[in-house]
């Protein structure tokens, strides 16, 4: 595998104008598959979520999932698309072992959604409009695992194993029109675009939108042309860019690589490229050729979909608030600074904080817990904070316990640990671990008497007016009570015991 020479990004941008294009595949979170009633579930044992239809056994026929159609229309509406009044399915034919019928049932001439747009807000607030060419319905393929060789990659593998659990999972493929004019912001725009699509489908509730699980997958098209030239350069399509950072990096790398190729006077080959996270570079895949004759034709086993205005408007009425509007509203409601809010968004905790606030916590407290202790523990556990296992209700309950004086901040952290260890609700953890603040003055008094007796010289100092020495006695009491006393109250009681004014 030869390493490509690349230009610096700055040099490439000086000479060439990038044009982008994206095909984003979104897996819908329907209960069953696109054309079969087998379950659409991630992560189960291989080939256990299949039936004869998604295995493509002889004689089977597809039947379309209505929820998947409605989810597709919702995505189209959220992307400001037109919804086709009449559309059909087509067979896209190619042989590959992850494709059980050796054709993918997709849409070709008449996608269900077309001609839309989405405004992408870049970090500095610039808004960039991306035009959507189409969003069409299709089915996912199975999953290949390449065995033998050293890397688990397809290259050098001795054989491959196929799991068809994912075969037939409903997909919506969102295709942009060529994106011109992004200039040096192309990589940033690429990342922001995919992030926006992810947010939209998650907000719609039609996809789990987890990129690490492949729920949202991006193919990035990049071409360069000299400034001033109208005609697009030859493009490459980089596959397998499955994180937001990777999208940004892959676009950047391809711009740099194209620049070097064009500089050397060589033509860009139209081909698919593969993104490698380890080397942060792309390698050549398959060149586009005559072999890419997909022989599309209308799927005879499925009948056309006709959308009525009534149906589409009913779906439109189900559209949630658009993500950008929602973000503006939430920031205003919560009173977060721009930086605080951006951190929350980047941590993927907006939903959690919203739920926590709705459940009764203050916006400040919600942020303090999610961005603080919960995020810290999630980082240690190497999971998303949202996936750590703390519910908004837990945060609210802990906050209430603090407010009532039942626990203090330090104890609250122990309560959180207890909840994460599965010891029950915060109240139950307090009970089981005996974490309640000791507020019984009688119990405290004996601890204080004990501490004073243990350190008579310190007691004398305090009596003598050195009030700051009280800290040593407070420490002793806290130790005896294992941190469960309110230090302020302990201090008061010590001074009262010694008859000293605080």
């Amino acid at each position: 595998m030869s390493v490509d020479t690349i230009l610096s990004f700055e040099e490439a941008m000086e000479k060439y104008d990038p044009v982008l294009g994206f095909e984003v595949h979104v897996e819908l979170n329907t209960k069953s598959k696109m054309f079969s009633s087998a379950p659409n579930v991630f992560g189960d044992e291989p080939n256990t979520n299949v039936n004869e239809v998604c295995l493509g056994l002889p004689g089977v026929l597809p039947v379309l999932n209505k929820k998947a159609v409605e989810s597709s229309i919702l995505i189209g509406l959220a992307l400001n698309c037109k919804i086709a009044e009449h559309c059909t399915f087509a067979r896209k034919q190619y042989f590959y072992p992850d494709t059980p019928k050796n054709f993918q049932t997709s849409q070709y001439e008449d996608p269900i959604c077309y001609d839309g747009w989405i405004d992408i807000e870049l970090a500095d607030g610039t808004v960039f409009r991306v035009e959507i060419e189409r969003a069409h319905m299709e089915e996912d393929a199975g999953k290949l695992t390449h065995m033998g060789g050293s890397t688990g990659r397809i290259q050098g593998a001795d054989f491959s194993l196929v799991d068809y659990n994912r075969s037939g999972v409903p997909l919506v493929e969102i295709v942009t029109k060529p994106i011109e004019g992004a200039g040096s912001r192309a990589p940033e725009l690429a990342k922001a675009y995919v992030a926006a699509i992810r947010e939209i489908v998650k907000n719609l509730g039609v996809s789990d939108a987890r990129m690490e699980r492949g729920n949202v997958r991006c193919d990035a098209n990049v071409s360069l042309r000299p400034y001033g030239q109208e005609k697009f350069g030859t493009r490459t399509e980089t596959k397998n860019v499955n994180s937001l950072r990777a999208v940004e990096n892959a676009v950047k790398f391809e711009i740099q690589r194209h620049g070097a190729v064009l500089d050397s006077g060589v033509k860009i080959i139209q081909e698919t490229r593969h993104w490698h996270e380890d080397t942060k570079s792309t390698t050549s895949g398959r060149p586009k050729s005559d072999a890419d004759d997909y022989r599309y034709f209308p799927e005879p086993d499925l009948v056309p979909i006709v959308t009525t205005a009534l149906w589409v408007e009913q779906l439109r009425s189900r559209l949630p608030e658009p993500p950008a509007a929602r973000r503006k509203r939430l920031q205003a409601d919560w009173g977060y600074t721009d930086m605080e809010f951006r951190d929350v968004v980047n941590a993927g905790l907006m939903d959690e904080i919203e739920e926590t606030v709705t459940a009764g916590a203050s916006a400040a407290a919600a942020r303090k817990w999610w961005m603080g202790e919960i995020a810290r523990r999630a980082k240690l556990a190497d999971v998303d904070p949202a996936a750590l296992g703390v519910s908004p209700a837990v945060v609210v309950e802990i906050e209430k316990l603090i407010a009532s004086g039942a626990i203090n901040d330090k104890l609250a952290r122990q309560v959180l640990d207890g909840v994460l260890d599965g010891e029950g609700t915060p109240a139950e953890v307090v009970e089981k671990r005996g974490l309640a603040v000791v507020s019984d003055d009688g119990a405290l008094q004996s601890a204080i008497d004990e501490a004073l007796a243990a350190q008579p010289d310190v007691a004398d100092k305090i009596r003598g007016g050195k009030v700051q020495a009280v800290g040593a006695i407070v420490g002793g009491v806290m130790k005896v009570t294992r941190g469960q006393a309110d230090p302020g109250r302990v201090r008061e009681l010590i001074l009262a015991t010694l008859g000293v004014e605080g």
Partner: protein, 516 residues
């Protein structure tokens, strides 16, 4: 009448004798198994069956007998055809019996699911005698393109039984089964029916679920009944028909009252149209004679016979031989040696998956299948789609318009089913075009989705072989076919002194067919 005599009667008669207790289902099934053993095997056997389902058929029969013996609701709830055995074309998947589609590529494959029509047969408790021979993947008009040897025509063992459903038609003609299921993409039920002197019906597209029929051309395929009488086909279509949520092209409102229509059988005041383009030149003289006699009989029974023109039917064969291979090339892509069926390693070179797929398909498919896959791949490929596949789909619109215009004038249409009687085995094997011409009269119905029925119209003077008469009705008017068909059938029986099949030569005992 004992069971061995009873196998020559109609399914309706068998059903009546079962209901009256005159005979048991076990006796009836055993008599058919004996007949299969007697005439189906060996070098000169009919070879209608690829698999004989002895144990299960007898078990189902015994269960029916037990229910009937118990009486009460168990007996009352039995379907009219319960205990009457049936054969199933080996293109239709069955749990517990291999399904080969007549191809080596599926040799030994066992489906983990039942076709919808098979579920319905099981629900009606009809014992399945076995799986019948066919042209590989239903591609052919002679059953010579089976990977498991040709089926022979019971009328003349040196002749073809038609195709692709030659096995189902021959089984019924040879009294190996009273009923069978076929599939009809361009005539594969009707043309074998014509050349074996049996009845066969291609229902309206969508009237019978295709779920579990291994697809050749999805927009043309249709499962239908094969029998010896019109009433029997009507009874069987009532068992297998109806809406199926697993088939998106299944009708929610198919034709009903089929058996009643067959029993009613009245053509008085009906208008019957002769299709100008579907007789005359290119049709064997004996076929024309029998066709004309049928018209006379119908006229005598009170029908008005008029001539209609379907000017675009001349393009039907061409359109069919573009649409059918196109869809077939796609439907057969799944046979690749990955998930089921045969796998073959390439003779030389590295065994990559692409090369294994190509070697598997080279070894597993016969010549006719390859021919159609390549033709279909061509018709769909970049640069040719519009001229071929696209144009053919437009012709389909023209054919539908021709039918619509014709049915605006008449109630049913009539034609010979096949231009000729059964030809000799091997005669057209190396001339695909000549083979394709056998379907010239049956194809328009598939392109338009309308129902078609064939019934025996007597024997041709020149060769003494059966001639088929085809009736066509508008979509969802399957009942009309049974109504007219039953009248013509009884008129012909009167003329020929009994069922046409009674004139078939007795079959010699052959080497016994082993239950495979």
């Amino acid at each position: 009448m004992n069971a061995h005599e009873l196998i020559r009667s109609s399914a309706a008669v068998m059903a009546a004798k079962l209901a009256s207790g005159e005979i048991t289902s076990v006796e009836l099934v055993q008599a058919h198994l004996d007949r299969i053993a007697a005439v189906d095997g060996g070098d000169r056997g009919v070879n209608a069956f690829l698999h004989v389902n002895t144990e299960e058929a007898l078990a189902v029969a015994a269960d029916v007998d037990a229910r009937r013996a118990r009486g009460g609701s168990d007996a009352r709830e039995l379907h009219e055809l319960a205990g009457v055995p049936i054969a199933v074309k080996d293109l239709i998947v069955t749990i517990g019996q291999p399904t080969t589609a007549g191809s080596k590529i599926l040799e030994g494959w066992m489906s983990p699911y039942d076709a919808t029509v098979v579920k319905k047969l099981r629900a009606a408790r009809m014992p399945i005698l076995g799986k019948t021979n066919l042209d590989e993947f239903a591609m052919g008009s002679s059953t010579e393109h089976s990977a498991y040897g040709p089926t022979r025509n019971p009328w003349d063992l040196d002749r073809i039984p038609g195709g692709s459903g030659g096995g189902s038609a021959a089984a019924v003609a040879a009294f190996e089964a009273p009923l069978a299921l076929g599939t009809d993409t361009g005539g594969s039920i009707r043309q074998p029916g014509a050349v074996t002197g049996t009845v066969g019906v291609k229902p309206t597209y969508g009237a019978v679920s295709r779920y579990g029929a291994i697809a050749m051309a999805s927009s043309l395929d249709q499962i239908g009944p094969v029998s010896r009488t019109v009433l029997d086909s009507a009874l069987l279509q009532e068992v297998i028909g109806g809406h199926d949520p697993q088939d998106s092209t299944s009708l929610t409102d198919p034709s009903t009252g089929l058996a009643d229509a067959a029993r009613l059988g009245n053509v008085k005041g009906m208008k019957i149209g002769i299709i100008k383009e579907l007789h005359g030149e290119g049709y064997q003289a004996g076929v024309e004679n029998r066709f004309n006699e049928s018209l006379e009989l119908l006229r005598g029974a009170g029908a008005e016979i008029v001539e209609v023109s379907c000017p675009n039917f001349g393009y039907a064969l061409g359109a069919y031989y573009l649409i059918m291979p196109s869809e077939a090339s796609s439907n057969l892509a799944k046979f690749d040696g990955v998930r089921f069926g045969m796998r073959k390693l390439p003779a030389e070179g590295p065994p990559t998956i692409e090369r294994v797929m190509a070697a598997t398909r080279a070894a597993g498919f016969g010549d006719e299948v390859k021919r159609r896959i390549i033709l279909g791949t061509y018709a769909l490929s970049a640069g040719y789609y519009d001229a071929y596949y696209g144009s053919a789909q437009k012709v389909r619109t023209l054919i539908q318009r021709d039918f619509a215009a014709a049915f605006a004038q008449v109630d049913v249409l009539i034609s010979p089913t096949s231009p000729t009687t059964a030809f000799k085995l091997g005669e057209k094997l190396n001339d695909p075009l000549a083979m394709y011409l056998n379907d010239v009269a049956t194809i328009p119905a598939n392109l338009a989705g309308v129902p078609g029925l064939t019934l025996p119209g007597g024997l041709a003077d020149e060769d003494g072989l059966p001639v088929g008469i085809q009736l066509l009705a508008p979509a969802r008017e399957d009942a009309r076919l049974y109504r007219v068909g039953a009248v013509l059938e009884s008129l012909l029986e009167a003329q020929w002194g009994g069922p046409i099949l009674d004139q078939a030569p007795a079959l010699a005992q052959t080497a016994a067919k082993e239950a495979k």
